[in-house]
């Protein structure tokens, strides 16, 4: 491998947004045939760096070199033309348009008279899908595709551009283990073809599996750059946070109380069937499985967002009515959904308003809700959860992902629930905040709250849960007690290889 000149190089890049210095004197070198990991806590400047490579932001100072020649990226189109393809954390597809149009938008093959050559476009998409080993139909609209398939479309787009540099911003955040493996096969193929890959992820074990070199960012600066092989996870984390994390997943052992949530034969036809389990006061039950196994759907049916076709949900000895979130809330159930942006928060509302949103009935004075009451409630919880904010009246959209998650948690904790359902509580948030969330969940459990935790991150489930339920294709495939819960045992059940019980 010739590693003398990098394909792409950033030298001394600065970027400032208002009062925030997002990037300060950052260097980055990407070489052909190398997967380069980019890590750092949220707010460390990773996204800004990605957006500079994508041509979305222009650096205030510093140079960008492509094959040693200085370049200025004037916009996303210029970055694409320069052979830089960016795959964003949340895929950016056109839901109404077909897979083929999504891949070739703006660059469709043309025939006589500058008309779009649909036959040629389809042929190329089929060829791309063959290269990726994924039989996606070129005519299928993007609407309703799984996130994994949406990412395949994004990668196909990068391939079709003959990109020399592929930037992947947290591509695995929403993927199951099997889908991650499929993605890695694609990444290795890109690498073998001489592409330089920049891989951003919070899942450190993945980085060790796929990358050769790493850049660590902290507070807008590059704090480490070098080969990954000599590093341990602990060292990497220490460099990211600037402190040592003794314990990743601090679940305290506690005594379990009576059954708080009892799910009996819960069925939603075509989605999941005959799901039965209990969660006791003071217990954390992990719900593991591949994306699409029906975990979130079970949670939604328990909380009453989706209708259950049969089965029973019993909280505190009383059966919950079908499809009534208010009844579930009154029974003491809280549900922190997977998708913060769309379901967990009202992005345009202030921090205070978001925190008080589930407690308005309690705050109500006659027909009025007083702003002072809202602020008091929000301030209490912001303090308890160590929320980092400037003003409670700022919109939540201004907060980082980890702090947004704390706001969602505050909203539900303000109701003092006895049963807490959390769906992917630490997705896309940084290591430090992750640990805080884990400690919080552990504290809640020790105070007697029954917690049902859905997570795609196995170390999180294994570290936190007293018991792990594993779902496979809509059914509970296994219940594994803490003592027997290993990554291997969970993955075997989740992939349907072993039907333990």
């Amino acid at each position: 491998m010739n590693q003398t000149t990098p394909i792409l190089e950033l030298v001394g890049v600065y970027k400032r947004f208002g009062a925030v210095q997002a990037l300060q004197d950052v260097d980055l070198s990407l070489f052909a045939g190398e997967v380069h990991a980019l890590v750092g806590e949220n707010g460390a400047g990773k996204s800004t760096l990605v957006k500079i490579l994508a041509g979305v932001h222009r650096p205030d100072r510093g140079r960008l070199l492509l094959h040693g020649n200085e370049m200025r990226l004037t916009g996303p189109a210029a970055a694409r033309a320069a052979g830089i393809a960016v795959i964003y954390q949340e895929p950016t597809l056109f839901p109404d348009l077909s897979v083929a149009e999504n891949i070739f938008m703006g660059r469709q093959p043309l025939r006589f008279g500058r008309r779009i050559d649909r036959v040629e476009m389809q042929r190329r998409v089929r060829a791309l899908m063959q290269r990726l080993g994924v039989p996606l139909d070129p005519d299928r609209p993007a609407r309703g595709m799984s996130i994994a398939d949406q990412q395949i479309v994004e990668i196909a787009k990068a391939l079709s551009l003959d990109a020399q540099v592929v930037v992947m911003d947290e591509p695995t955040a929403a993927l199951s283990a099997v889908e991650v493996d499929r993605l890695f096969v694609v990444v290795r193929a890109l690498q073998a073809a001489g592409t330089a890959v920049l891989f951003v992820s919070h899942r450190l074990s993945e980085l060790f599996a796929i990358s050769q070199t790493v850049t660590v960012m902290r507070d807008g600066r590059r704090v480490f750059n070098g080969a990954l092989s000599g590093l341990s996870t602990g060292e990497l984390v220490r460099r990211m946070v600037g402190r040592t994390l003794d314990e990743f997943y601090p679940k305290q052992e506690g005594s379990l109380g009576a059954v708080a949530l009892s799910v009996r034969g819960l069925t939603r036809v075509g989605i999941f069937s005959d799901v039965t389990f209990d969660v006791r006061h003071g217990e954390i039950v992990g719900l593991a499985g591949l994306v699409g196994a029906g975990r979130s759907e079970v949670a939604r049916a328990i909380f009453g967002i989706d209708r259950r076709d049969s089965g029973d949900v019993i909280v505190g000895g009383r059966s919950l009515p079908v499809a009534s979130p208010p009844a579930a809330m009154n029974a003491g159930v809280a549900y922190v959904p997977e998708d913060r942006h769309e379901q967990g928060l009202v992005m345009a509302l202030s921090i205070a308003r978001n925190v008080s949103l589930a407690s308005l009935a309690r705050l109500r004075r006659g027909p009025f809700i007083l702003g002072a009451d809202e602020r008091k409630l929000a301030a209490t919880w912001a303090d308890r959860l160590h929320l980092k904010y400037q003003r409670l009246s700022n919109p939540v959209s201004m907060l980082s992902g980890g702090n947004q998650q704390k706001v969602v948690l505050s909203k539900w904790l303000a109701r003092r629930p006895s049963v807490l359902i959390v769906d992917e509580p630490t997705r896309g948030i940084d290591v430090g905040t992750k640990q805080e969330v884990h400690r919080l969940l552990s504290d809640l459990a020790s105070q007697g709250v029954a917690i049902l935790m859905i997570s795609s991150e196995l170390p999180e489930v294994l570290g936190m849960a007293d018991r792990v339920l594993v779902m496979h294709e809509g059914r509970l495939a296994a219940t594994i007690p803490r003592a027997g819960a290993t990554e291997e045992a969970v993955m075997l059940a989740a992939t349907g290889t072993v039907r333990a019980s």
Binding site: V86, L93, F94, L97, M105, P141, G144, M145, A177
Partner: protein, 345 residues
């Protein structure tokens, strides 16, 4: 590691076919309703099928269908143009008024004047929407009043009267080929060309992309501002030309010409299956929507039913169309999702 079974291609292409069927069903559905309407009304009241009446309906449809083409271009990009009625009025008066001021002015020049007025109005809308980044609903609501105000300022209490127009000009509206009005044929050709442009040219597809996901369109390097601007120019241009047709058709033009026509046009566009929040729909569908709405109006009139029902039925049709769209798109999404689920990954 065990490999998860991929979605079987059969399921996927079923889903693709389904979405295809949905869009075609819409146009076929309109044609079916139209045939039913014509047959039933024709049986009850044979006058409905007299050549005279058919020509009348087609001429009415001509204007709505043309305007619907322009509106479709704007709506698929997740915008709306409410000002077209005022542009029609302005262009109708100013172009027809040319005959009084410039003796012997050639008719193509009058059409060009209408076109120019329309382009100017459309460019003004497009500039504020794309550069000023003001929502098009607000911009074109404002320009609806501004253009109408300008019209009233110019026309005052006066009007262009039919006998002041050259007979050759008025004759355009009466010319027919095999009984079909020339204007309707011309409109059909323009609509077909517009539909082809939207389907088969990059800039056409980019309008759909902008309407489907504006942020993604920007990231894909699509010149969003330029495309949006051009969409409004196209809508304005079509409204300008339609103004001249208005003058041909009615002859007498005062300052109220074209008032409220924008709502009929938007109704036709929505009934024709163009998603009101952008991203999907075709110009042919919108034109069929226009034909259906004018046919219903004419049928009710021929049957001697109160004109109140014309508007009420248009309203019901609108709600039915949108409800149908919602239902279909929900079903489609569920079906596509289930396709993912069945595959297991």
């Amino acid at each position: 590691m065990v490999t998860a079974p991929r979605q079987s291609p059969v399921v996927v292409s079923n889903a693709a076919r389904l979405s295809d069927i949905v869009s075609r069903t819409r146009e076929l559905g309109i044609v079916a309703v139209l045939v039913l309407l014509v047959v039933v009304t024709g049986v009850v009241q044979p006058n409905f099928l007299r050549l005279n009446n058919i020509q009348f309906v087609l001429l009415d449809t001509t204007m709505i269908a043309l305007l619907a083409l322009g509106e479709t271009v704007v709506v698929v990009s997740r915008n709306v143009d409410l000002s077209i009625g005022s542009v029609v009025g302005l262009s109708a008066f100013l172009s027809a008024n040319l005959f009084g001021h410039v003796a012997g002015i050639p008719i193509p020049l009058v059409f060009a004047a209408g076109l120019g007025i329309g382009i100017a109005c459309g460019a003004a809308n497009g500039l504020v929407v794309s550069v000023g980044r003001v929502p098009s609903l607000v911009v074109t609501l404002a320009s609806l009043y501004i253009f109408r105000g300008l019209d009233i300022l110019i026309v005052g209490g006066g009007q262009v009267v039919a006998f002041s127009l050259p007979t050759s000009f008025r004759a355009i509206g009466e010319a027919t080929v095999l009984g079909i009005p020339d204007l309707a044929i011309a409109a059909a050709i323009v609509v077909a060309a517009g539909a082809y442009f939207l389907r088969s040219f990059r800039s056409g597809r980019e309008l759909y992309a902008i309407g489907s996901n504006p942020d993604a369109a920007r990231l894909a390097g699509i010149p969003v501002a330029r495309r949006t601007f051009m969409a409004f120019v196209a809508s304005g241009a079509i409204a300008g030309v339609t103004g001249v047709i208005w003058a041909i058709r009615y002859g007498t033009i005062d300052s109220t010409a074209g008032t409220g026509i924008e709502l009929q046009v938007i109704a036709a566009v929505v009934v024709g299956g163009v998603a009101i929040f952008g991203g999907s729909g075709s110009a042919v569908g919108a034109a069929l929507g226009a034909l259906l709405l004018t046919s219903i109006a004419s049928a009710l009139q021929v049957l001697g039913i109160s004109p109140f029902w014309v508007q009420a039925i248009a309203g019901f049709l609108l709600i039915a169309a949108i409800t149908l769209d919602r239902g279909i798109s929900l079903r489609l999404t569920t079906t596509l999702r289930k396709g993912n689920y069945r595959g297991g990954a």
